[in-house]
């Protein structure tokens, strides 16, 4: 039985007898190579559930922010989660954004999510009209082209060095767990960037972030960014300007990264959401690396651990303090 059918059956069962009001999952999107969030409240709707390499959005976001009226407030929701998404659930449970009793976690094993912008680069911008994925290659067709691309070349940055592809915390697990991935290269992109001179790093930072149009899609799809009022939206005092001034833009991103320090699960939703294809994860990864090396923590992996930035050890390394 394929995982999709298993998923639908589980969802039907939860809706029928599990006391669950809705299943939050993905269904096919309106475009080729896309998926869209689905809030299935009936058995028929549950038959639209899918899980494949297009199911990138981290659905935990529907438990937070003002979207919470959808998933919370007296409703019991089943939610389908990949490895990274499950870590978001763990974090949000710890931070009291979700009540454990309000959620049934349906875990799936993940083979990585396709980054549409990488596929577009491969097709030279020509529109993809058909898409399929055999687990090793994806094939994309459009007017005047029909190409196979190795998956590894179009996977999201977040998935290239993913360590926890299976939902770590789940009530129901669908399919075969892939197990923890041993990767030496978890922080490869960070290390490569660190090698560059300060001058060069600044040039790259400028180049990347000057593309930002301040649409906040990155922030809004992030399940860790749930402040009732984000610091960029505060206007009394107004902390940062709203124009495309580069220093304002960079400050927005640096502070957002610090706000999700020890709370980012590296799901890559922000990067995939960005309409300007800014390689946002590099900074998240850098922060994750510091958090891991300094505090020995990974977000949302240990359900009992406090989030890194609200915790401390007295004897911690403080090499950055003036001697």
């Amino acid at each position: 039985m394929n995982i999709q059918q298993e998923l639908r059956d589980a969802a039907r069962k939860l809706l029928a007898e599990g006391g669950v009001d809705q299943i939050i999952g993905w269904s096919s999107g309106s475009l080729p190579m896309s998926s869209t969030p689905l809030f299935a409240a009936t058995k028929e709707e549950a038959d639209d559930l899918i899980f494949d390499a297009t199911c990138g959005s981290n659905l935990t976001v529907y438990f937070t922010k003002d979207r919470r009226q959808i998933a919370r407030d007296g409703k019991k929701s089943g939610v389908v989660v990949k490895g990274c998404d499950a870590r978001s659930i763990v974090l949000n449970l710890k931070e009291n954004q979700i009540k454990r009793d309000d959620v049934v976690i349906i875990g799936v094993p993940c083979d990585g999510i396709i980054d549409r912008s990488k596929v577009e680069d491969k097709t030279g911008g020509r529109e993809v009209l058909e898409f399929s994925d055999n687990g090793k290659n994806i094939s994309v067709k459009g007017r005047g082209f029909d190409i196979d691309i190795p998956r590894t070349e179009v996977l999201s940055d977040s998935c290239i060095s993913c360590v926890h592809p299976d939902a770590g915390m789940s009530d129901i697990f669908i399919g075969e767990p892939r197990g923890e991935q041993k990767t030496k290269d978890q922080y490869l992109s960070v290390e490569q960037f660190e090698e560059l001179s300060a001058e060069e790093r600044w040039e790259r930072t400028k180049q990347e972030y000057s593309k930002c149009i301040r649409c906040y899609a990155c922030r809004n799809v992030c399940p860790s960014c749930y402040c009732n009022e984000c610091f960029v939206d505060q206007n009394d005092p107004q902390w940062i300007g709203k124009t495309l001034d580069l220093s304002d833009t960079i400050i927005f991103h640096v502070i957002r990264n610090l706000h999700v320090a020890g709370r980012c699960v590296e799901c890559g939703s922000c990067e995939r959401a960005c309409p300007m294809d800014i390689r946002l994860l590099l900074l998240n990864r850098k922060v994750a690396k510091e958090v891991a090396e300094r505090f020995g923590m990974e977000t949302g992996v240990d359900p009992d651990a406090k989030p890194a930035m609200s915790d401390f050890r007295e004897g911690e390394k403080q090499d950055f303090i003036m001697g």
């Binding site: 300060a198 600044w202 400050i251 640096v254 003036m322």
Partner: protein, 139 residues
């Protein structure tokens, strides 16, 4: 360029480092006049946004100083702050901000001498870097 004097913002916790600065003053210990002091209740009050904002408005250097670990008036304020700075500092370096622009120290109320040394060191470091440009906003 030789007579260029950097502007440095010193964010000091009221219980230790500010008192240390005070002691340096009453003991008439000399240190460079480049710092502008902002007093905060605790280093734990220092939001990274304060630091970014100061860089943006043209400070050439930032010094944040609080009580030594274990001496925080509020028990754990500086421990929490330390984690924050431990991530902020490498992140700023990562995006290409010069490491010496933003510095952190622990100075107690009894360390007037040390306060002077810290300020001297930070001033010299920042002088070597020259005026800040990278995050400065032109209005």
């Amino acid at each position: 360029m030789n007579d260029w004097q950097p502007k440095i913002l010193a964010i000091l916790c009221t219980w230790c480092s500010y008192a240390g600065a005070d002691l340096a003053g009453v003991s008439r210990i000399q240190y460079p006049p480049n710092i502008r002091v902002v007093k905060v209740p605790c280093s734990g009050r220092v939001d990274p946004l304060f630091i970014m904002k100061s860089l943006q408005s043209g400070y050439d250097g930032i010094l944040v100083s609080g009580c030594h670990p274990g001496d925080c008036h509020y028990m754990s304020g500086n421990f929490v702050a330390r984690r924050r700075f431990a991530v902020l500092k490498p992140l700023l370096e990562f995006i290409g901000i010069e490491p010496d622009r933003v510095q952190f120290s622990w100075v107690s109320a009894g360390e007037g001498e040390r306060f002077a040394q810290v300020v001297t060191k930070v001033t010299e470091d920042v002088k070597k870097l020259g005026p800040a440009k990278r995050l400065v906003k032109q209005v």
